[in-house]
């Protein structure tokens, strides 16, 4: 058991909220060589510590917030990974977000923050280098995310703190609530808001002034980091994101790719996207570009509305997923209304992907007569009716009234409760709402929606090898846009060339792929223990049954062949059998022998 030479400090901060104590947990270099960090390290904790069927809202359930080994160095590595067992889906979950939190955790001398326990009264805590302080959060309880962040700054008398907090949605136990970092950044798909709320934890703030990430061979590392940066600067895709952010995909996916989502996935054709997308935003809304740590792409765009009902509204809007889910998905034509909906989700700490999915589903259910205004406190949502959607978001965040109680359950449970054939348009994978890419228009999205660990996630890769690359990106906390994968220009070699001089490892590119497969497979074993198999790796009914009625991909449907081809390809690549269960041989090859017993028990239990 060796302490890491570089990249990592070899210690994770363990917070126990029940006793309000903090301790250091040593992590040996061998574990980092296997699981890398962040998402991988979280998966390692989960498979090691949790038995099958663990209640994710138990007192000793954990949330792991982790930066990767590359964070806090000259490499562009600004992402933070949040890992927990998701009460919404019952599966292992990881959510990533940008900003400066990851680097700050590293500069405070930690490889991650592991939170367990449950406080009796609302608390938050601050981490300043080695010092942890627990503080009363009763005045913060009920506040929106930005107010909470401001209160933390005031309390710590330091404007350079980095915070991660929940909003009212998390406190009220909305299962698709999330964590918000520094006002505008959402770890939306983490769904950890409800876990924080259950632990009575409003959030925490980090400030690191004391430590620098140790580097084994600085000269080599800096050269390699520079190669990675230059590669991504010269990439045309990154150039597009520099100017228009991810919102530029709204127009592209409507007019070229045919994968924009419209009206709860009824079609992919919405010419009015020109009133919502990047061009419109650049013309009338965006005022500045915002970066994560050291990133040259600055894909976040902030803007302000200068007139109208929402005069003065400052929002990070739209980016592709938020503009898709809360814009075209709801049949919107009004930019201001869309921006306001997005901002409301940020303020309440709601995952806007799930929120948009719920609102879209509700509107279609009303349209088809399965839901009546009397079920929704008299509200009658119509496509494009931003005011009603705003009222519904208010109700969801506070679980208020009949509508709030119904909608805050999420689409899967709503559909089950309503019945009346709503399952034909309940677009969920593994119990969660889908992101803004129609798999009929962009068929390789099947990989991220179905094979990925989270279920219905938008950012887990669009091919077998991509799943692996993204697992590595999330574990190294590289952004998919500035690293390897379909959306980034780096290669496996560029990443390994950075890792070796940083950590003092002796990796080949094979080790990179092996680690990616190991992390994915460990996560899969966790999910198999919860009863997941090939039958769950399926898109919702709509995509196999309904042809696209219009747009560039008019007439296309996701066929069974499309499905089988991609599923088999992914299983084969990752060393899983035809039922989607990792084989004993591959577990041994990945060094996951300790999971064989668990896996066999699960196979017997679920007859796999």
């Amino acid at each position: 058991m060796a302490t890491p030479k570089g990249g990592n400090f070899g210690k994770v901060l363990e917070i126990d909220l029940s006793t309000q104590t903090a301790r250091t947990r040593a992590i040996p270099d061998e574990v980092y060589q296997q699981f890398v960090g962040a998402r991988g390290l979280g998966a390692y904790f989960a498979v090691k510590e949790y038995k099958a069927g663990k209640n994710p809202l138990d007192e000793d359930a954990f949330v792991f917030v982790g930066p990767g080994p590359l964070a806090g160095t000259m490499c562009v590595s600004p992402r933070t990974s949040i890992v927990n067992k998701n009460p919404y889906t019952g599966l292992l979950n990881h959510g990533e977000c940008g900003a400066h939190l990851a680097s700050e955790i590293k500069w405070a001398g930690w490889d991650g923050i592991y939170i367990k326990g449950r406080a009796k009264k609302p608390v938050w805590f601050s981490v300043v280098n080695d010092k942890v302080e627990f503080k009363d959060a009763s005045k913060m309880w009920g506040k929106t995310t930005d107010d909470t962040h401001e209160m933390m700054i005031k309390d710590m008398k330091d404007s350079r703190i980095r915070s991660i907090v929940i909003g009212p949605a998390g406190e009220n136990g909305v299962p698709y609530s999330c964590l918000i970092v520094e006002r505008f950044r959402a770890a939306a798909r983490s769904n950890a808001g409800i876990v924080f709320g259950d632990k009575k934890l409003k959030g925490f703030a980090v400030r690191g002034t004391k430590y620098a990430v140790p580097v084994v061979d600085n000269a080599k590392f800096l050269a390699a980091a520079n190669v990675a940066k230059e590669t991504n600067i010269s990439d045309p895709g990154a150039g597009r994101r520099k100017v228009w952010g991810t919102a530029s995909s709204m127009e592209t996916n409507n007019f070229v790719l045919g994968s924009l989502i419209v009206k709860n996935f009824q079609t992919t054709w919405w010419p009015d996207v020109v009133k919502l997308g990047a061009e419109e935003a650049e013309r009338k809304f965006w005022k500045r570009h915002v970066s994560c740590t050291n990133c040259q792409t600055h894909c976040l765009k902030l803007g302000v509305l200068r007139e109208g009902k929402y005069k003065g509204l400052i929002a990070e809007a739209p980016e592709y997923e938020s503009g898709g889910l809360l814009g075209t998905n709801l049949g919107m034509k009004d930019f201001d209304q869309m921006a306001a909906l997005i901002e409301a989700c940020d303020a309440y700490g709601l995952d806007y992907i799930s929120t948009g999915g719920v609102l879209g589903f509700t509107t279609e259910a009303v349209e088809k007569g399965a839901l009546k205004p009397s079920d929704l406190d008299g509200l009658k949502p119509k496509w494009g009716d931003g005011d009603t959607y705003m009222k519904l978001i208010d109700k969801i965040a506070y679980k208020q009234g009949k509508a709030g109680k119904l909608l805050s359950q999420g689409v899967a449970r709503m559909s089950k409760q309503i019945g009346k054939g709503t399952d034909a348009y309940a677009n969920v994978v593994k119990g969660r709402e889908m992101a803004a890419h129609d798999p009929r228009g962009d068929k390789n999205r099947f990989y991220t929606y179905c094979i990925g660990t989270n279920g219905a996630d938008h950012a887990e890769g669009a091919s077998s090898s991509d799943l692996c690359r993204v697992a590595m990106n999330d574990s190294l906390c590289l952004c998919t846009f500035t690293s390897s994968g379909v959306w980034g220009a780096s290669t496996d070699k560029i990443v390994v060339d950075m890792l070796n001089p940083l950590c003092g490892w002796n990796w080949k590119t094979d080790d990179y792929w092996m680690a990616g497969k190991r992390i994915l497979t460990a996560e899969r074993v966790f999910n198999v223990r919860e009863g997941i198999s090939s039958k769950d790796d399926r898109l919702p009914k709509r995509f196999y049954a309904e042809k696209l009625p219009a747009g560039p991909k008019k007439g296309v449907v996701f066929t069974e062949e499309d499905h089988t081809k991609r599923q088999t390809d992914a299983y084969k690549f990752l060393g899983w059998d035809e039922k989607g269960v990792p084989t004993e041989v591959s577990l041994k090859a990945y060094g996951l022998d300790f999971l064989i017993e668990d896996l066999n028990a699960a196979k017997r239990k679920y007859n796999l």
Binding site: G72, T73, M74, H100, W107, G142, K143, T144, D146, D147, H149, E150, S159, R160, P168, E182, R183, F184, G208, T209, K210, Y211, A212, V213, V215, N218, L222, K229, I233, K242, V243, K287, R288, H289, V290, S291, C292, T293, N294, C295, Q296, H298, L302, V304, L305, R306, Y310, K311, G312, L313, I314, A340, E343, A344, A347, Y348, M390, D394, A397, Y398
Partner: protein, 248 residues
């Protein structure tokens, strides 16, 4: 109504210094607005360079300059600075820093290499612990002479509230221009500029530019930027959801 929303800096009594300050802010605002409308980085840069009178030579010495509204808050300048001066990436050791204002704007806080250097004038030791390097125009700290955290007269004197204490030794962190080749400028340009052009620049600059811009504290600069970019919501308040605004 709108009068109230003006930054405080514009409403102060007009002593000579405050007058300079006010005009600088307004001029900066006007420049920035004109630069935003899709101007090419080259053209924007040209606009900032100060023209010297015909027949006179521009100064050979270097100054740092920041077009604050171009900052994306990536902090690559901080990282590069700390790497150059300490061999490690540790932004709190950097001689340049990015201040966040209301979470909506980022303010690069730099040393303007003032011609009259109030920090050097305020330094109480003999010989002076901080001096100006004649060749590079950077401010050099003599760590053996400096009294450190118990003094910090230089920080008090700095009109830009730029000087910070070193978290390890307590001595001031002041910009030495990396001996004439500022790493922060390189790092900023290596980000390949944002669509409006890079934020940090270093070039021979004439008298006046750095003198007037320096008299703005990070907070005042943040207010300026918020006013420039996010009018009418200059305080950066959250507009939705209305429910929480009613004090729920």
């Amino acid at each position: 109504m709108e009068e109230k929303k003006l930054p405080d800096v514009l409403k102060k009594d007009t002593t000579r210094r405050d007058f300079l300050k006010g005009t600088a802010t307004a001029a900066g605002g006007a420049l920035a607005i004109s630069a935003i409308g899709g101007m090419s980085p080259k053209k924007a840069e040209a606009q900032y360079s100060v023209q010297t009178a015909p027949g006179t030579k521009p100064f050979a010495q270097k100054f740092l300059y920041t077009a604050r509204h171009n900052c994306t808050g990536c902090r690559s300048c901080e990282l590069a600075c700390s790497l150059f001066h300490t061999g490690n990436v540790r932004p709190d050791m950097a001689r340049i820093w990015i201040e966040k204002y209301k979470d909506i704007v980022d303010v690069p806080v730099i040393c303007w290499q003032c011609d009259d250097a109030p920090c050097i004038a305020a330094c109480p030791t003999t010989p002076k612990a901080i001096t100006r390097d004649a060749k590079s125009n950077g401010i050099i700290l003599n760590e053996k002479v400096c009294l450190g955290a118990k003094c910090m007269k230089c920080a008090e004197a700095c009109p830009a509230k730029y000087v910070r204490g070193n978290p390890d030794t307590g001595q001031p962190l002041i910009c030495d221009l990396c001996g004439g080749d500022p790493q922060c400028v390189k790092a900023c340009h290596a980000q390949s500029g944002n669509p409006q052009g890079p934020c940090l620049m270093s070039r021979p600059v004439g008298i006046g530019m750095n003198m007037s811009f320096r008299n703005v504290t990070p907070e005042e600069a943040g207010k300026d930027l918020a006013h420039l970019l996010f009018y009418p919501n200059v305080e950066g308040k959250r507009v939705v959801p209305a429910k929480t605004r009613k004090g729920r």
